[in-house]
Subunit: 261 residues, 4 copies
């Protein structure tokens, strides 16, 4: 699989596809790493209280949005094999089904504005990264983390609002389990040089519960669980929502829409 | 006044302060211009319908915001002479008083996230730029236009959502008179070279009624009614709200807060 | 011709191509302007003396360069009609022939590093813009000015080293007529939104005689003789060298090469 | 020492200085890493031949440059203890003295254009990173690598022209030992948010022997021998030239000058 091959090589580098197998034998590979090498716990972002509005007030999508989930069905989504998305639609929301794996939009996108709401269940259990873990992969490459960070500390570049294992959020405006959190994400896709480096980096502004937590942040590569970010040239790509497989209760989403910019 | 002197010279240039008077006599000035030279009517941005929410639902400020107007008083504001701001506070909103002129925040800012809500009165009259005209000057230099653009055409770089006389909004998501429009503005201040040019340009993302209408747009200079944008080196600056002096009913504001980024 | 149509509309705007003729009749056009409205004479950049090296030392192109002129022929160039370029090759240099008009590279480019040397003739006459005037149009859209600015004042955004009628050079390191000036230009092409605005601006670094005079400067639109810069979406484009038609002696070029970045 | 403390914490993070000791006891540190984890050997940049000019032609500095070394003395330099710089001046060049350690400019800088020439001795020995190793630290933080890469392979993000352990050069235009290599480096300093993140990243354009090998590349943090780049807020800083302590012959420098931009 293409991505697996690419992952063998490196950070901040693109991979020449031709002749790669031969080069494997001549040149050394970077020494393997552990996840804990890229986990930073300090300084913890300040905890703030976001604004409140009428309980469960939901703003409808603008008329030029692509509605990705309106509470009724997952017709805009599929699983990683291109089959029907197996998450559970009920009561106007969609809930992660860990057996069904990640789900991706059928459509691919370049620059966009994304609105997505998500809820940590009231009876969430676990701690650190094992508590309400999910994530939104922009263009299937760059993860904006989702985690219950309400009275739950973790490494700061793994908090909600972080570009996963890259840049922590400036503040922590999480709502508590049982309430709806809202992400408004403004994303600009990268361009690449002929050499496979970034010609222009991807950038992202993340607004969580009305609070800017990433301000046109430069994304420096893919968001790797282990090791350095990678530069992997790509064109348009889908959104991916992560099924993390935590042992506790699964999280839910609603009111998902996107405007191409 | 410093600004007046600077305005004599030009676009995309900074002004060396020393010896300026002498240079006046030796070098020609750019030929004067008319306002209509920088007014572009095409292409008109698509009109879209923004999302709707519970009538008059107002989201409270986050806990780390500087509240600039909470419905009670104008203690955070002053007029252009540094005196008390003379606009009218009533019913939890503040309404322009055209005799009182523009109002400015007492505090100055660099980078920020601004939330501000504004309402065109239901009985608005007039047309083109003479209909609900106001504006928000970021750092007292760069105007984000406010105008009733609901069934009211004007030059596109003078519409609501435009960086005035520079960049039109990508779409027109205005609500109709009597409803509240919401601006969420994310602003990054410029830096300047020793020569008075932009070292890094100011940039702005403007979200109007939940819809991105400026996506990290490069601001190319001050927003001039007549002629070219100017590059005027400056440090931190206040917000200014414009009293445009239209003959019709004045507009109102509410729920103004700002987070320094 | 496509470009002519686009030029009718405006600055900082892109032009929707469909239905444009109809819109002409409904909306006003911006009021016409004069060239002198965009000519700024102050502050004049400091005059400095660039480094000197062995007389007529020419560095050969690197091995991965596209050699555009090696002193022998104009086989890489054509005139604006796509015919043979009619400038005069002699003594290892090429001299402007004003009857032959501008010349363009046959190849088109995106991002590049350009090296080009040029000489104002020793017996140059005239003053202001009428003295050794030429220019290099990057992607046939954005002019880096060429002019004899050795003891010849002009408006600063029309000097050698300026992005024409946009941004003046930070200093003036011109060599005198009869000596060779050297431009090293590093250019990054723009990308555009679906609405025809800049998604990312073109940028340029200009090194004149070894001295940085534009430092990754943001280009704000096409370089217009009259009026505001325009935003005209485009893909790759050729280099254009200007035959300005001055009444005095024509300028010469040598050692032109380019590396695609 | 301030820098040592900061180095304890992490990548892509700034360090709150107050209360840091206490936090040490509560939160885990990232797991230690090895140098080989950030060494990438593929793809190797293409080897190209740079231009040649008259042997030993040296261009004199422009008149507005700060001359840092003109062949006579090291009066603009000091060692890491603020004492006299102990490298060897002879024959118009300065040669590394490994016992004397690194040398730094006495002056500090923000944005600049730097010109510096360096020579690998003809009788160089060793291989990989142990062959003519030195480096230029911009603002004492970000290393542009110097190494004999003429017929000497190493990890690509450690080659001459690389931002050390970050971004490899696009090509390899090294001259052979005994010839002079020329770096022209255009650097823009970072700005930082109040939270200690990059507000704007540092960027660098590197021209090696007349060939662009870094094109306004985004620097993502300090250039660490071990582990991830760090974000360490700083103001202006000096240049540092590295005494690497290789067992072989030391390298030499000449004609060093800088223009503040």
């Amino acid at each position: 699989m293409k991505t697996n091959v690419l992952i063998l090589s490196g950070v901040l580098l693109s991979i020449a596809s031709s002749g790669f197998a031969q080069e494997q034998s001549k040149y050394p590979e970077p020494m393997p790493m552990k996840p804990q090498m890229s986990e930073y716990w300090t300084p913890q972002p300040p905890v703030i209280t976001p604004g409140t509005t009428t309980a469960n007030a939901v703003m409808s999508p603008p008329s030029d949005a692509i509605v990705l989930f309106d509470g009724k069905d997952l017709s805009e989504w599929q699983n990683t094999k291109g089959e029907a998305a197996g998450w559970t639609v009920h009561d106007g929301v969609v809930t992660v089904n860990k057996k069904a794996g990640d789900i991706l939009t059928k459509q691919s996108f370049e620059d966009f504005q994304l609105h997505i709401e998500w809820q940590i269940p009231e009876n969430i259990a676990g701690s650190n990264q094992g508590r309400g873990n999910s994530g939104i992969f922009l263009q299937d490459k760059y993860e904006i983390q989702i985690l219950d960070c309400y009275n739950n500390e973790t490494y700061v570049n793994g908090q909600t609002g972080s570009i996963y294992k890259q840049t922590p959020p400036t503040v922590n405006p999480m709502r508590k389990p049982g309430e709806w959190n809202v992400y408004d994400i403004i994303y600009k896709a990268p361009t690449f040089t002929k050499d496979g480096q970034f010609r222009t980096h991807p950038t992202v502004t993340v607004i969580l519960n009305g609070v800017v937590v990433q301000n046109n942040t430069t994304i420096i590569g893919t968001t790797q669980y282990i090791g350095f970010p990678k530069i992997i040239p790509h064109g348009e790509g889908p959104l991916r929502l992560q099924s993390h497989g935590d042992p506790s209760e699964p999280i839910s989403f609603r009111n998902i829409w996107l405007r191409e910019l």
